[in-house]
């Protein structure tokens, strides 16, 4: 994977850089004035990799930083090999394969913690679509659960009502029975005495008994209804049991979630109090409380996972049962599906896995990375990064392939021999790698020795330390006795070498702020050569003010960084890529101007706009003639390169000067090569972008072929011989001087009109000039 492009948002003076591609040849320079934000870009990229930012990175509006990086995906299976445990939402892999790249985003939270997400507009849309699908499914399940619970409630209510009614009927029955008994009793007592009374009572008794029977029937009916409803309650209760369990599990989960948020809030509050504590005593007290809260938080985290898992599982189980699956089968199925483990990667999970495979981003800092004179072995072995020169010394050991075991050799003579051999090997390797010289015949080598403190250092007496020497033909000096330039070179070498020698080397993006600031101009140019040398393995992004660190032939490597001042309070870092250098300010581009010596645009030859770069002088004569014949466009300034191979240099110059231009090339092999080189190096392989600026004369091998054969013979060659081959081939095969023919033609057009040419010639010329006009107007 290689870093292809970046986008930085809300990072120091940067609001949003937009996407910017790195140079196609993996050496990218950031130019700009002091305080423009160049270093912020390097820091942001470094933070993307290690996730670390400080408070002062944040913008005053407290919008949190987001850094996105785009990486190449070289192999169709590269991503599926990394993300093989779970699934990705439909279409994501296909999208990555189509793009041949993958985008990762690091977002920071308010507590300065961060997370890496799989990004990219289209990929994110696919994830969102997938998430919406999952939410819709959960909504459906939730609805089914709520429905059954409501049904249970309704059935119970009906049951209770029926039961109440039944009880009412029962009471009425008892009352009726009591009435019967009472009448019977009266009949017994009073019936004997009075016949009339007896008859009356007998009638009453019969009526009461009838009533009893009537109510009994009613009761019977109601009892049956109650029984039925009771059964229904049993059934629905069985069905609803799983739904209730699901509800209960979610309630528990939500409760834990709520508590977790609350505890997290307390924790951040305590942290803030701790940071601002006025005394050690206060700090200790807060620390104590914080430890307790932290324990609780950790416990809640665990509970969070458990309750979440249970809730998800129970919800699915309930759903399956409601769908008609018998409980036992549903439970078995749910267990098999492991619904608590989401089978799909989240953007976070995918991002966190992919980031393991991206190149290592390393910020190479001049000052902390310089080789020290000596360093305690313990400090290196214990990873004491705060010690001066730690990084360079650690790199040194890594390059030499040394670890703790090496220094455990008890026989000091053997150890000395080993070191001597290593010194020899390292030197050779260094010379081999480092073909540049500092001073014409002054090749430098690096040596180290293992020494032990003597009793002049009573606190360290007997402890081992490493001593470094830098040698050239004349002298053997401590690193600090050498110039900063030499030290920089050495440290830089060690950094690169260490990275490449690592077994798990997966590419590296080296971020270098002002490389070789202390180097002589020639040595600075050597730095560029070193970048060239390593670019296949190490991508370099560097900032510079120095014209010596810019290759005038490769201005496409540059990104211009400048601060746009909106008002006194607000300013923003903006980045221009090579294609839009014209929009950058003159101050920003000053290293390029320095390199060029003087501003071409101040001369008559090249103008601010409407410059048309042509392959050579022949093209220049013909195009000038065509321009005169056609009479349009009103303003066109033809600039001949000395040869087609130099078109790119001219393009670079004009870009550097911030001048507008278009290019016209033909379809000869050299013309096509120039077109392809420009496309790759300047226009990021984007067909549309190059078409906006570069006109490829389709089907014409040379400018002479714009003429019909007849017109070429008539107006250029002034001969009537047969020419079946193309005009350009004829000129070449007969070794005619192209330039002479062209300049003669230019001289001869004084008396000519465009209508003197035949339709074929007119059509060809007009097509090319129409293309020129369209691009100039655009």
């Amino acid at each position: 994977m290689k870093l292809l492009a970046f986008r930085i948002r809300n990072f120091r003076s940067i609001i949003d850089t937009g996407w910017h591609s790195l140079s196609s040849d993996d050496i990218t320079g950031l130019i700009g004035q002091n305080e423009s934000g160049k270093t912020s870009i390097l820091e942001a990229l470094s933070s993307f990799y290690d996730g670390k930012i400080s408070e002062d990175t944040l913008r005053s509006d407290l919008s949190m930083p987001v850094v996105s990086c785009l990486f190449s995906v070289d192999d169709d299976n590269e991503i599926t090999d990394i993300l093989k445990e779970k699934l990705l939402p439909a279409g994501v892999i296909e999208q990555i394969r189509t793009d041949k790249s993958v985008s990762l985003e690091r977002e920071w939270n308010e507590d300065l913690s961060s997370r890496i997400l799989l990004g990219g507009e289209k990929v994110v849309a696919l994830f969102n679509k997938h998430d919406e699908g999952v939410i819709a499914k959960n909504d459906r399940i939730e609805e089914a659960i709520n429905r059954i619970l409501q049904k249970k409630k309704d059935v119970i209510a009906s049951f209770q009502q029926a039961e109440n009614e039944r009880l009412g009927i029962e009471t009425r029955l008892n009352d009726a029975k009591a009435t019967v008994n009472e009448i019977s009793r009266s009949l017994k007592v009073k019936g004997k005495k009075d016949a009339e009374e007896k008859k009356k009572l007998q009638n009453q008794l019969a009526a009461a008994k009838n009533k009893v029977n009537e109510i009994k029937n009613l009761l019977n009916e109601k009892s049956q209804e109650v029984q039925k409803l009771n059964k229904a309650v049993q059934t629905v209760a069985g069905e609803a049991r799983y739904a209730e369990m699901s509800k209960e599990a979610w309630r528990e989960f939500e409760e834990i979630q709520r508590e977790q948020n609350e505890v997290f809030g307390r924790l951040t509050n305590l942290q803030r109090l701790y940071d601002h504590a006025l005394s050690e005593k206060e700090r200790r007290a807060i620390q104590l409380e914080m430890d307790g809260v932290n324990d609780r938080y950790m416990k809640l985290l665990k509970e969070y996972e458990q309750t979440r898992e249970r809730a998800i599982k129970r919800r699915l189980l309930a759903y399956k049962i409601l769908e008609g699956l018998p409980p036992a089968a549903a439970e078995k199925e749910t267990e098999r599906e492991k619904p608590h483990i989401n089978p799909f990667y989240t953007r976070l999970e995918a991002g966190s896995l992919i980031v393991e495979h991206i190149p290592e981003f390393v910020m190479f800092e001049d000052f902390s990375s310089l080789l020290p004179n000596r360093i305690d072995l313990d400090d290196i072995l214990n990873g004491n990064a705060a010690i001066e020169g730690y990084k360079a010394a650690r790199n040194f050991l890594e390059v030499a392939g040394l670890n703790e075991a090496f220094f455990r050799e008890s026989n000091s003579r053997i150890l000395k021999q080993k070191i001597e051999k290593l010194n020899r090997d390292l030197t050779l390797d260094f010379q081999d790698f480092w073909q540049q010289r500092i001073g014409r015949h002054n090749k430098i080598t690096i040596n180290f020795e293992l020494e032990h403190y003597d009793n002049t250092h009573p606190d360290k007496s007997g402890f081992p330390y490493l001593e470094f020497w830098v040698k050239d033909r004349q002298e053997r000096l401590y690193p600090k006795q050498r110039s900063r330039g030499v030290r920089w070179f050495l440290s830089f070498y060690l950094e690169l070498k260490a990275a490449i020698s690592r077994k798990d080397f997966k590419g590296k993006v080296l971020l270098i702020d002002e490389p070789g600031l202390s180097l002589h101009a020639r040595a600075q140019e050597d730095v560029l050569k070193v970048f060239e040398h390593i670019k296949d393995k190490v991508q370099v992004i560097y900032t510079t003010h120095s014209p010596h660190l810019i290759d005038i032939k490769k201005l496409y490597r540059l990104l211009a960084v400048q601060r746009n001042i909106h008002d006194d309070e607000n300013s923003e870092t903006v980045v221009f890529d090579a294609k839009s250098l014209t929009s950058a300010s003159a101050d920003t581009l000053s290293p390029i101007y320095t390199l060029m010596g003087s501003r071409l645009s101040e001369q008559q030859f090249i103008q601010k706009k409407n410059n048309i770069i042509l392959e050579d002088l022949t093209n220049y004569y013909y195009f000038s003639a065509f321009h005169a014949l056609l009479g349009y466009p009103p303003e066109a300034f033809f600039l001949p390169a000395t040869d087609v191979s130099n078109v790119q240099t001219l393009v670079n110059l004009l870009m550097g000067w911030g001048l507008d231009f278009i290019v016209v090339t033909d379809e000869s092999p050299e013309g096509l090569k120039t077109y392809q080189d420009l496309k790759k190096n300047v226009y990021g392989n984007n067909d549309n972008k190059i078409r906006e600026k570069v006109i490829l004369m389709d089907g014409f091998q040379g400018v002479e072929d714009l003429f019909s054969t007849l017109d070429f013979k008539k107006h250029v060659l002034h001969q009537r011989i047969g020419i079946p081959e193309s005009n350009s081939d004829f000129v070449r095969d007969n070794k005619l001087s192209r330039t002479l023919l062209a300049s003669d033609f230019l001289k001869s057009i004084q008396e000519m009109k465009i209508t003197d040419f035949d339709e074929e010639t007119r059509e060809n010329i007009e097509n090319v000039f129409q293309a020129i006009v369209e691009r100039l107007q655009a």
Binding site: L710, R720, G722, P724, D758
Partner: protein, 274 residues
């Protein structure tokens, strides 16, 4: 006596020698004729593009300075009828050059319009014959009518060097006139040929021809046949089947020629648009 005898023998010997040489030449020309015929498009190719067609091809001698040519590329058919300077062997040599060049042009260049093909053909002929426009050099070359027919769009492109073409639609003969210059150097400086586009209709009949037919002396007064009677004849027969057209053209020609000798090669190509 001896002298006369010797003289007779010598004469006989010479006669035999001449006969032998003549036979050899005829044999070799006949073989050349085979080669020339094999370079002409095969009937099945023409039939494939235009199922209804005829070619009336009557060389004056064994080999001919007239040729016809056809190539099919995708939906386009390229075809031509040409008449090279001279007839017999010199004409035949030139015709072979013409056929080769035309084949080369359509192979090397895609989608050239008809006039550009003629422009290029002229360049090739001029180069092959080392013509530079000098007034002392021979004006060898050819006249040609070249067509490109787009079978899908039914559009015909025509460019002509001294050769017109006729299209008969219903009762009307439409003549498309050529540029008045040959393929090859001439008295005036070369100009580009012009391209003419014709929208064809089903059952249009297209005729390409060399000037041998109209230039034939004959009839009762021994005059040239001429273009007007030729046009009238074509209009009369255009609706007949192609085979009958060819037969009538041939019979009319023979009848007109009568006892006169054939003055030039004859070539008429008739095509019914499918």
């Amino acid at each position: 006596m001896v002298k006369r005898e010797e003289l007779r023998e010598e004469m006989e010997r010479q006669r035999d020698e001449i006969t032998r040489q003549r036979n050899e030449i005829i044999e070799s020309i006949q073989y050349a004729s085979l080669i020339q015929t094999s370079l002409l498009p095969q009937k099945k190719l023409i039939d494939k593009v235009f199922p209804r067609n005829f070619v009336l091809y009557l060389p004056k001698n064994i080999v001919s300075g007239d040729f016809y040519w056809m190539v099919s590329r995708g939906r386009k058919a390229y075809f031509a009828v040409a008449d090279c300077t001279g007839h017999g062997v010199p004409g035949a040599l030139m015709s072979i050059l013409g056929i080769s060049f035309l084949n080369e042009i359509v192979t090397m260049h895609d989608n050239l319009p008809a006039n550009r093909i003629l422009n290029l053909l002229r360049e090739m002929v001029m180069k092959a014959l080392h013509q530079t426009g000098d007034s002392t050099e021979a004006l060898d070359g050819m006249d040609i009518s070249l067509c490109i027919y787009d079978q899908e769009k039914m559009i015909l492109q025509y460019a002509g060097a001294n050769h017109p073409i006729y299209i008969i639609r219903g009762e009307v003969v439409i003549e498309y006139k050529p540029d008045r210059m040959p393929i090859g150097v001439s008295g005036i400086e070369e100009q580009p040929f012009t391209n003419q586009y014709v929208e064809l209709k089903k059952n249009d009949t297209l005729y390409l021809f060399t000037d041998g037919y109209v230039d034939q002396f004959g009839g009762s007064e021994g005059k040239k046949f001429k273009f007007d009677p030729f046009r009238t004849l074509l209009l009369k027969i255009a609706r007949l089947p192609m085979k009958s057209q060819k037969k009538i053209l041939l019979e009319t020609f023979e009848k007109w020629k009568g006892e006169f000798i054939q003055v030039d090669d004859i070539l008429v190509m008739g095509i019914k648009i499918p």
